[in-house]
Symmetry: C2
Subunit: 117 residues, 2 copies
Amino acid sequence: MAADPLSRVFAALGDPTRRDMVARLTLGDATVNELAAPYDISLQAVSKHVRVLEDAGLVSRSRSAQRRPVHLEAEVFDLMTKWLERYRRAAEERYRRLDDVLAALPDDAHPEGGARP
Amino acid sequence: MAADPLSRVFAALGDPTRRDMVARLTLGDATVNELAAPYDISLQAVSKHVRVLEDAGLVSRSRSAQRRPVHLEAEVFDLMTKWLERYRRAAEERYRRLDDVLAALPDDAHPEGGARP
DNA sequence: TGCGTACGCAACCAAACGGTTGACAACGGC
DNA sequence: GCCGTTGTCAACCGTTTGGTTGCGTACGCA
């Protein structure tokens, strides 16, 4: 299937239902039934969603009796944060450099092709 | 099609090729041809990828002559960072609370079902 | 004016995705 | 030992997605 973990994480969070479930899980562990409650989709569909989140490493499941509580895993968030931070910083850096360039321009040199109106 | 911006952003970044393009764009704007160079897929496929990134608000395209340089947009990163930070903090909070609970336990109360080994 | 370059649009295709229903396994309680 | 609860597995279905090819358009240049 999908290779790298990062792709799985991003893809998993691309679905609003799954993001919603993550939000719910920050309040505490929950069973599949509890997770399914707010939605009018089948239990199996919810189970599938949980599996996608699990494959992405976003949640883990222990088992206590026949219940299988879903637990939010924090580490992957760090992975994403690291990725994001890297590119956010690069983008900012580019802005800063652009500012420098603009500041260094002689004021008669105003090309009409300003990219950002 | 897809409703909320956040879903589009996450979904867009779920594809490794598109994440790669974002990485490339942090080095500076690029044309579709330049973006396509490293991959052995058709130019049209690359064009499609760029369109997905554009719909997600991750890039913008100006036009200078027949060239249509792709430019990385920083704002959406902030949107993601905000989302991420919220849940990262919530997850950490949960850990902290768990630590408190464990610390408050009488030392003869050791249930065998420790979720996190 | 015609030509080459850069790119988008449309149609198509196979694979993946989100959802369904039906059957079935695992476990606690009576 | 049986029953209800909890949840997964498997097969199927319509839509989306990533890729292709072919054609068309916009523009700079000779």
